[in-house]
């Protein structure tokens, strides 16, 4: 199996521009202290982003990469911008904000060096995913994020993306009230829910299994201690006991590396747990647009009905005058006709927007995402098998050695 890093490199989509041109890495992490927005002292971690032209190294010399420091909240800002600006794209997720699904040995502390290291890898992974995306990689703000330390925040806010973002309430409203949901999107949403549920379950059980495995290995360390003490009172068995004891100690210690490696597997699962949320975001956007379309159609339908009623002379129980003036204002039939036509066109345009731009693009990205997911998860499962194989081989070696020592007692 190739190195860890290679197995985690996302598959290069066709036309992925930025990654071809530029090497990107999150090289380091550092602690900083400073004053926050409410003028209180806080400690936070910053990450060093290094970039350099992709072809620069191949020319035989190693130029110093450009670099800047970013903290986690800036990554979040970038991602929120991308979410709003490209609602039809499944936006790559960030690594988790706080350590979850921990087993007892790992601390849930954000300052813990192992957690910081895994987060560094996760942030790098995020940047590489964006940089290799056919659409996202050409975004200007993303480019500035990588290259402009100062002034980037202002640039983001200048795009006015905040105004474009849909309120959660609106989105929730749409979910419940949409009448004709697109079957494909409903199925996709259902699949995302299942994926979230099953990956979080898997992560929880895996953490418990890891915890138990840790216990089994560590208890064997006691053999080491007792054998060593016992060897002091034995003459013939002494040597055998002593060396067997060393192997027991080695066995107990080996579990630390084994479980550290498994954390990478857990991280791969987590990425897709969070990806599922990103897919749901696309589905929600679709629902919203669908709902708006349906509402607009509904308006048009009731206006048409009104017009027919006017023409047919049908009277309603409520104030006829009041309603017509509400709907049509003080207008002439010709003006009404014109307004209706405009509305019709607007709806048609809306429909086009929905149909062409959103659904087409969304579905294209979803297909891309599906392929990526199948590839990545398959690789992850295989690397998990590789880890298990490595663990078994270590076990065989230790116990074979121990057996030899016991045989010599």
């Amino acid at each position: 199996m190739t190195s860890e890093k290679e197995s985690r490199v996302p598959i290069m989509a066709e036309g992925s521009c930025l990654l071809r041109k530029m090497e990107i890495s999150v090289a380091e992490a550092e602690k900083r202290t400073g004053k926050n927005a409410v003028n209180m002292q806080e400690t936070y971690t910053v990450y060093l982003i290094e970039t350099r032209p992709a072809d620069s190294v191949t020319e035989g010399h190693n130029p110093v990469p450009d670099s800047l420091w970013r903290r986690y909240s800036e990554f979040e800002l970038l991602r929120n911008y991308l979410l709003v600006t490209y609602p039809f794209i499944v936006i790559p997720p960030l690594p988790e904000k706080r350590a979850e699904f921990v087993w007892h040995k790992l601390s849930a502390d954000n300052m813990d060096p192992d957690f910081v290291e895994r987060r560094r890898i996760g942030l790098e992974n995020f940047l590489l995913r964006v940089a290799s995306h056919p659409v996202l990689s050409s975004d200007k703000i993303f480019f500035l994020f990588l290259t402009e330390e100062n002034g980037w925040k202002e640039a983001v806010f200048e795009t006015g993306f905040l105004a474009k973002s849909d309120s959660r309430l609106k989105a929730l409203n749409a979910t419940f009230r949409v009448k004709n949901p697109d079957k494909r999107f409903s199925e996709l949403k259902h699949y995302s829910d299942e994926l979230q549920s099953v990956t979080s379950q898997l992560l929880r059980v895996r953490a418990r299994v890891a915890d138990r495995l840790y216990g089994v290995y560590k208890v064997h360390g006691n053999y080491g201690r007792v054998f060593s003490e016992w060897s002091a009172i034995e003459k013939e068995m002494g040597d055998g006991l002593q060396s067997a004891g060393h192997h027991m100690d080695a066995y107990a210690a080996s579990v630390d590396d084994i479980l550290e490696e498994e954390e990478h597997y857990a991280d791969q699962l987590k990425e897709y747990l969070f990806y599922a949320e990103a897919v749901k975001a696309v589905c929600r956007k679709h629902e919203l647009l669908q709902y708006e379309l349906e509402t607009a159609s509904q308006d048009l339908a009731s206006k048409k009905q009104q017009q027919e009623e006017l023409a047919a002379g049908t009277v309603r129980t409520f104030s006829f005058k009041g309603m017509t003036s509400k709907l049509f204002g003080q207008e002439t039939p010709e003006q009404r006709e014109a307004k209706l036509k405009v509305l019709e066109e607007q709806i048609k345009e809306g429909e086009e927007e929905l149909q062409k731009e959103f659904v087409k693009n969304a579905w294209k990205d979803i297909e891309r995402f599906k392929e990526q997911k199948d590839h990545d998860l398959r690789e992850a499962l295989m690397s998990y098998a590789v880890m298990q194989i490595s663990m078994c081989k270590k076990g065989i070696q230790v116990w074979t050695n121990a057996k030899e020592c016991f045989s010599k007692m």
């Binding site: 898997l202 053999y223 016991f406």
Partner: protein, 465 residues
């Protein structure tokens, strides 16, 4: 015995084991007679005054005759059965003996025995050979948790332990020749019951107990260094066994909990495969691997529970046995020392009489005896007491020497057995662990191979990636 070192823990060049052809000393023909059924030395009641002709032959009794490679007696314990009577319910075990020994009338025997019978046998053997080290019997009760007496695991563990106990007796050159061992193996149930009743009476057994208690209260004065070293070793050893017993049981517990979680892990992959298309095969593959690893883990736990755990527990019991043996040896020595003291006292009295310092006969003259006669009577009385005591002292000193030699010889035998038992148990455990990891390795490797093959097929057929 020549060649015995003072330090019991120091190894002789050869390891003593029951089946090996090793020996301590090659004895001549006259010692072979010692093992015929007619000469039951140190058997039955200690009140029995039929002693062998000379101390020398007594000492020789405890030299081991050359052990041949071929065992001539095979004993198995199996087939537990439950018996219900009006008064109680109990389990009997089948004891099968196959032997070519001449003192047995037939070459094959099959009897049924219950735990009480084994206990009786052990007590008889201990009485006959107080300083030989025997393998322990399984415990009467198990204190841990609510273990029913008739729980299957309990019965199986007990049966295996009883089998080992009998086999160790059968392998012992001296113990296996004990009359009661033969009766145990061959007598019908009613015969055994009546024989048990014939044994030393209650009163004589009480006498033993009283003497033993008195001796232990007295304490031994000059314990030889080598026996003190043995005691210290057994103390340390016992602590190690207790620790190892605890550690191993903890490992079993942790393994069981690990297995519990693992059993929930595989099904989640299967569940996931239900919502996927392309990933169905790899997900199901992983689920299947985990399930097979579960089975391997179960086997490993079973092996540990059935081999290492009982073995370590046996050796915890062993240390108690050995400590009891050392105590009994001490008591024998204490008894001998006490008799020596008594003899010294009488001799001093006799000396005092010679110097006419004893005024007791003056009193006697008041009762109408002539002083000279009284003195003579007392002299005679003391002389006969002294002679009796001298005989007793000689007997007891021989007894001490026999006991010491028996123990020294058996100590090496015990150490040898201990080494081979422990070695075998740990080697077997290590082997099983290797086997466990090899099984799991094969499972994951075959998964990986099948996945790589499938992937190659896909890419060759012009699919994605």
């Amino acid at each position: 015995m020549s060649g015995m070192s003072a330090d019991p823990a120091q190894a002789l060049p050869a390891v003593m084991s029951p089946l090996s052809g090793q020996m301590l000393e090659l004895d001549e023909d006259d010692d072979l007679e010692v093992f015929s059924k007619d000469m039951n030395l140190m058997d039955g009641s200690p009140m029995n005054a039929s002693m062998p002709t000379s101390p020398a032959s007594m000492i020789n009794q405890y030299k081991f005759e050359e052990e041949t490679d071929a065992k001539d007696i095979f004993v198995t314990v199996d087939n537990p059965e439950s018996h219900v009577t009006a008064l109680e319910t109990f389990i009997t075990y089948r004891v099968v003996t196959k032997t070519t020994r001449s003192e047995f009338d037939s070459c094959e025997y099959e009897v049924r025995r219950r735990y009480q019978d084994f206990l009786w046998l052990k007590e008889r053997l201990e009485e006959g050979h107080p300083t030989l080290i025997m393998h322990p019997l399984p415990e009467k009760f198990v204190m841990k948790g609510m273990v029913e007496r008739f729980n299957d695991d309990f019965i199986e563990t007990r049966q295996k332990a009883l089998h080992k106990f009998l086999n160790r007796v059968a392998d012992h050159p001296i113990l296996s020749c004990h009359e009661d061992f033969k009766i145990f193996l061959t007598a019908q149930a009613w015969e055994l019951t009546s024989h048990k009743k014939q044994g030393p009476g209650f009163l004589s057994r009480m006498g033993d107990t009283v003497r033993a208690v008195a001796a232990s209260v007295r304490g031994v004065r000059n314990r030889p260094e080598e026996f003190t070293a043995m005691l210290e070793y057994v103390d340390s050893f016992g602590q190690k066994m207790i620790s190892l017993d605890k550690v191993t049981q903890r490992i079993v517990k942790e393994q069981k909990e690990y297995l519990g979680e693992l059993k929930e892990y595989g099904p989640v992959y299967t569940l996931w495969s239900g919502s996927e298309e392309e990933l169905v095969e790899p997900l199901k593959g992983v689920a299947s691997c985990i399930d097979r690893c579960c089975k391997a883990t179960e086997e490993q736990i079973g092996h540990l529970s059935e081999n290492l755990v009982p073995l370590l527990h046996e050796y915890v019991l062993c240390t108690d046995s050995v400590k009891a043996v050392l105590r009994r040896r001490d008591n024998i020595q204490a008894e001998s020392e006490a008799k020596n003291d008594a003899l010294a006292n009488r001799k001093a009295d006799r000396e005092a009489l010679k110097d006419s310092k004893d005024l007791g006969f003056v009193l006697g003259s008041f009762l109408g005896k002539k002083p000279e006669e009284a003195k003579q009577q007392k002299e005679q009385r003391l002389d006969s007491e002294i002679n009796e005591l001298k005989e007793e002292v000689e007997r007891l000193e021989d007894k001490v020497e026999c006991a010491n030699n028996a123990l020294k010889g058996d100590w090496l035998r015990w150490q040898g057995n201990m080494r081979s038992d422990i070695k075998a148990a740990f080697v077997s455990t290590a082997e099983k662990n290797v086997d466990y990891y090899e099984k799991c390795l094969a499972v994951w490797e075959s998964f990986l191979t099948s996945q790589t093959a499938a992937h190659d097929m896909e890419s060759n057929s012009g699919h994605s990636s």
